[in-house]
């Protein structure tokens, strides 16, 4: 009898629906895809300009999504990196300041080096000293913001080679600007790393159960360094792109990036406690958020109303999580049972 049951389950799992169920059970992007489809449908009907001016929408998605992609590497480990927006700002300031004194290539290298250094400091305090990543990166957020002001002398730093900046914002491949191309390149690179490379897959293991990861021989501390370096370097790249494309590095830059990045990752189905999530989910989350923002901007919807929309989407993304739904259903059942018992008495 037992053997028959095993065979039955096995045969279901190899069938189309069984495979589909298995794939869906493993993936965390389901809700993100549904949200994306709903937003895309509504936007298509109400604001078709979002699609007709698709290069603008892709630019907004890249603006939100780039930092979110790097941030996801840290979130998958169950850690947080609140310093990404400040890393973006200080990297932009370093890139332009150094570029103005030397050349753009050296400016870019200096900014990337700063991104790596910031990541190493973050990871050192989290992995070696054992300080909570929220506190570590919160401290780094303030320190870097101050550093950006000090380096820039409290004013935006103008890129002397303005023509280079203007050219960088122009389409390079068809209608795609370098920002969009870099965004897609980084998405593919991080996705391949997280899904196909052993070290990348270990990020999920570290987030899922850290003790089990230690026991399995995974170099947890090294992986924490890996995750933070990805996050820091990607934030640095975003800062460089912003500064060059705007022909100016603003020390206050990235003020709206942090929350948007977390929102994209959460809408994409990434668990803040780590162990579950994907880069693909973050891409879909960023796409949903980007489309929504562009549509609301075109509609002239004011910021407070936009925030209500985005907050609503975030809330839907969180409460439609299967475990949340189970908890809600459990609470409802318990309440109903209590009411039934009261009535019976």
């Amino acid at each position: 009898m037992t053997n028959q049951t095993v065979i039955k389950v096995g045969s279901t799992a190899t069938g189309f629906w069984g495979k589909l169920r298995t794939v869906l059970a493993r993936r965390t992007e389901g809700r993100a895809v549904v949200l994306f489809a709903i937003i895309a449908t509504v936007v298509t009907v109400s604001q078709p300009l979002v699609f007709t001016a698709y290069q603008v929408t892709l630019g907004r998605i890249a603006l939100i999504g780039l930092v979110a992609l790097g941030l996801t590497a840290v979130i998958l480990m169950g850690e947080l990196d609140l310093s990404v927006a400040s890393t973006l700002a200080v990297s932009g300031v370093i890139a332009v300041t150094v570029a103005n004194q030397t050349n753009m290539a050296i400016g870019v290298l200096a900014a990337l080096a700063a991104g790596v250094l910031i990541s190493l400091i973050n990871a050192f305090f989290v992995a070696i000293i054992g300080i909570n990543s929220f506190i570590t990166t919160l401290g780094m957020l303030f320190a870097l913001r101050g550093m950006a002001f000090v380096i820039s002398d409290e004013a935006p730093v103008k890129l002397q080679n303005t023509d280079l900046g203007i050219a960088f914002g122009q389409p390079l491949l068809g209608p795609l600007t370098p920002r969009i191309l870099i965004f897609f390149f980084i998405f593919i690179a991080i996705q391949i790393f997280v899904s196909r490379v052993k070290a990348g897959r270990e990020l999920l293991a570290v987030g899922g159960n850290r003790q089990a990861a230690y026991d399995a021989g995974i170099p947890v501390k090294r992986r924490i360094f890996t995750g933070f370096i990805i996050s820091g370097v990607v934030a640095s790249i975003a800062g460089i792109i912003n500064a060059v494309e705007r022909t100016s590095a603003d020390p206050t830059s990235g003020s709206t990036v942090l929350l948007a990045s977390f929102a994209a990752a959460i809408i994409g189905g990434n668990y803040l406690k780590g162990g579950k999530g994907s880069i693909v989910g973050t891409l879909i989350g960023a796409a949903s958020l980007g489309m929504l923002q562009v549509a609301l901007t075109i509609s002239g919807v004011q910021i407070p109303i936009q925030e209500i929309f985005i907050g609503g989407i975030l809330l839907i993304a969180v409460i439609t999580d299967p475990s949340s739904l189970r908890a809600v259903w459990g609470s409802i059942s318990t309440t109903l049972q209590g009411i039934r018992n009261s009535l019976a008495k």
């Binding site: 001016a53 203007i166 914002g169």
Partner: protein, 345 residues
């Protein structure tokens, strides 16, 4: 292999969507031509009466100034037959750049720009110029190098406001040697920089007997200003300070609160600021604040629309740049209660 497909699927999906939708864009672009033969006269009349204008602002109903600026702007737009689409970048230069891309893609008749970061608007201006969309600037003017890319400016003379505040200070101090502390607006903000320059240049030229002991940035709020002022008083010693320059009335109110918390009377100090707001005007009447400079948010919003209308109707000739400064009226105890300088925000 399957994993590779999963990795690339979202990217391919977005790329394919982009290409398909670009076809839609091309199709949509041709539609008006096809319909142009019908009711051509009526369309011409309608186009002559109504203009589509994007207003790219860095604030809106989320800040006191914007709360009065936006309704005045909208009221003037309704009167002049302008359909306004207003955005709010919350002083994020990158976000405003993205909003500018959206505006250019929407192909409006004109763009009203209030730069979030003065140094970062060149690409936006270039894109608008390439698309043949006239741009006028409001509230904070462009840097000299960029002015040729806009058709006009309306708003306060932010440098002149700093000058006026310094003139009040110099007039009050007379020949006495006085040391003051200076509280500026947000670091990197162009209005804060202009006011700072206007004040310090005028003090250096008109009353060299006034020494600026220390200057610090704030975030324009009373609470932060009170904290910063308190720290500066501690650092410099209350006995060494004879006056305070604040970049706006909220900052002045914070600085006055910091003084009074030390048990001294603010009226005994030389204090000047800018704004003549609901917060600052009563302080002038009470004698705590010696002088401020009137700034009308409703004048600012209304004239932003009127200037754009003048451009759209050809009142301002092609190639000309109109500059319309808001009157910078000095408000002291002598005229603070007058109806013509009644605070608006």
């Amino acid at each position: 292999m399957r994993k590779s497909r999963l990795v690339l699927a979202p990217a391919v999906m977005l790329a394919v969507s982009a290409l398909v939708l670009s076809g839609c864009a091309a199709a949509e672009e041709t539609t008006p031509d096809a319909d142009s033969t019908t009711d051509a006269t009526e369309e011409v009349v309608e186009e002559a009466e109504t203009y589509e204008v994007y207003a790219l602002l860095p604030q809106g109903s989320d800040q006191a100034y914007g709360t009065f600026y936006v309704p005045a702007m909208e009221e003037a737009a309704a009167e002049l037959g302008i359909n306004l689409t207003i955005t709010n970048s919350q002083y994020d230069g990158d976000k405003q750049a993205s909003e500018c891309e959206i505006a250019v893609a929407a192909k409006p008749d004109g763009i009203i720009l209030w730069p979030a970061v003065g140094d970062a608007v060149r690409p936006c201006l270039e894109a608008a110029k390439a698309a043949g969309i006239p741009v006028t600037v409001t509230n904070s003017d462009l840097f000299d190098a960029d002015k040729a890319l806009s058709r006009g400016y309306s708003g306060p003379d932010t440098y002149g406001q700093g000058v006026s505040s310094a003139e009040i200070m110099c007039g009050l101090v007379g020949d006495a040697d006085v040391s003051i502390i200076q509280l500026n607006g947000a670091a990197g903000n162009s209005t804060a920089i202009d006011r700072d320059n206007g004040f310090t240049d005028t003090v250096a030229a008109n009353c060299a007997n006034v020494t600026i002991l220390q200057e610090e940035s704030t975030d324009w709020t009373k609470a932060t200003a009170q904290q910063v002022a308190s720290e500066m008083i501690t650092a410099q010693g209350l006995e060494n300070i004879g006056g305070i320059y604040a970049a706006d009335d909220s900052i002045a109110a914070g600085a006055i609160a910091a003084l009074e918390s030390r048990g001294v009377v603010a009226a005994d100090y030389f204090i000047t600021s800018i704004g003549n707001t609901f917060l600052g005007n009563p302080l002038v009447i009470a004698g705590s604040l010696d002088g401020t400079v009137f700034q009308s948010s409703s004048w600012d919003g209304e004239n932003a629309t009127r200037l754009m209308y003048a451009v759209l109707t050809g009142e301002i000739a092609e190639g000309d740049r109109e500059v319309k400064f808001m009157p910078s009226v000095k408000v002291t105890a002598d005229n603070a209660a007058d109806a013509d300088v009644a605070p608006e925000w």
